[in-house]
């Protein structure tokens, strides 16, 4: 597995390269002080690296620009963002651009190694504080916002419909009569102002329910 590091601060870059190139898991470890240097080098290569570890706050081409450039060339190359910041904005932009990992520079070297291997195997990996931010980004979404006034049973029925189940199957699943399912669906239709299964599924998947 071939690894690339892009980091403008000499000490950090050299530290990483020294440590990581000693690891037997990595075939090669190339390091660059800027996105420009990296892409110049890349143009002369025949194969893409497996994982790119890049600083987010690079001078010139930013780390986020790097992700996009890399992803445009090779979808399968994984990108890990390295940063001293843990602000939501950069995290979100990085994820949007296609980064699969996000770790703080304060992270110990052997954990960084672990993160690289994890991500190379297709998993997502984030520093604890980052993971929390990402999760709370979608986070406990205040539901009062869109609040429909569907009851719990009605919501269960909606779930069944979204899963493509027939009245009969929903009835079996919830252990109630098919007539009761009908009754609930009638109420759902009235509350949502629709009159077909399809519309309920649409509304549900568009997030217009709850």
């Amino acid at each position: 597995m071939r690894l690339v590091i892009i980091e403008d601060i000499d000490e950090i870059r050299n530290g990483y390269q020294e440590f990581l190139s000693l690891q037997p898991e990595f075939e090669s470890v190339d390091a660059f002080p800027s996105g420009e240097d990296f892409f110049d080098w890349l143009a002369k290569q025949s194969a893409m690296p497996g994982v790119v570890l890049t600083d987010i706050g690079l001078p010139g081409i930013s780390g986020i620009d790097c992700i996009q450039g890399i992803k445009r060339i090779s979808e399968s190359t994984e990108v890990i963002m390295l940063t001293v910041y843990d602000d939501s904005d950069r995290i979100f932009k990085s994820l949007c651009a296609g980064a699969t990992g996000y770790i703080l520079k304060a992270t110990p070297l052997n954990e960084i190694k672990t993160s690289i291997l994890t991500i190379a195997s297709g998993h997502a990996y984030m520093s604890p504080s980052i993971a929390r931010k990402v999760m709370t980004f979608f986070g406990p979404t205040k539901k009062e916002e869109t609040a429909n006034d569907l009851t719990n049973k009605e919501l269960e029925i909606v779930r069944g419909l979204v899963d493509g189940l027939s009245y009969k199957l929903i009835a079996d699943k919830l252990n109630i009569s098919i007539n009761t399912v009908r009754q609930h669906i009638r109420n759902i239709y009235k509350k949502l102002q629709v009159n077909s299964k399809g519309e309920v599924i649409s509304k549900s998947l568009k997030g217009e329910i709850n």
Copy 2:
């Protein structure tokens, strides 16, 4: 570290509990067949478990409901979703509710152990296929990837279905016979491996068409 498993299928639950309770890393491993049983038990406990592993498709209180209940009581308890499905909808809802991990039931036991330990240390952990879905959720939405082989006419029909139109209305809209609409829909069902309008709408809105 105290662990809880919530899973309705006896064999799976027992398998997990047997394996995990043999691991020295876990102080205790309690297992329950339903969210109700878990919360009953929890009410009598003095401390929250560190990690809860829960099935997403539980009868009664769903796995997603469990997350919300748990998080309301204790923010620091991590929740891992266990599932046979890898559809975007459930993943997204789980993440919204506060789950930090998401693994498929097909995952080997020792990887499940790894995931628990990873998550206990505050990291996010997801099965490869899940991680990919989450990332591409924000991600650079390339459409060529998922390429179904629906024809243009078939796609027009799908759009009609998603809009909640009946066969008749679709026929009118596209200026073709209702029998033709039927024929197209038959072909769509075969290509998508489904057999109801609802499933087509689901797939379409989940981005699994095109």
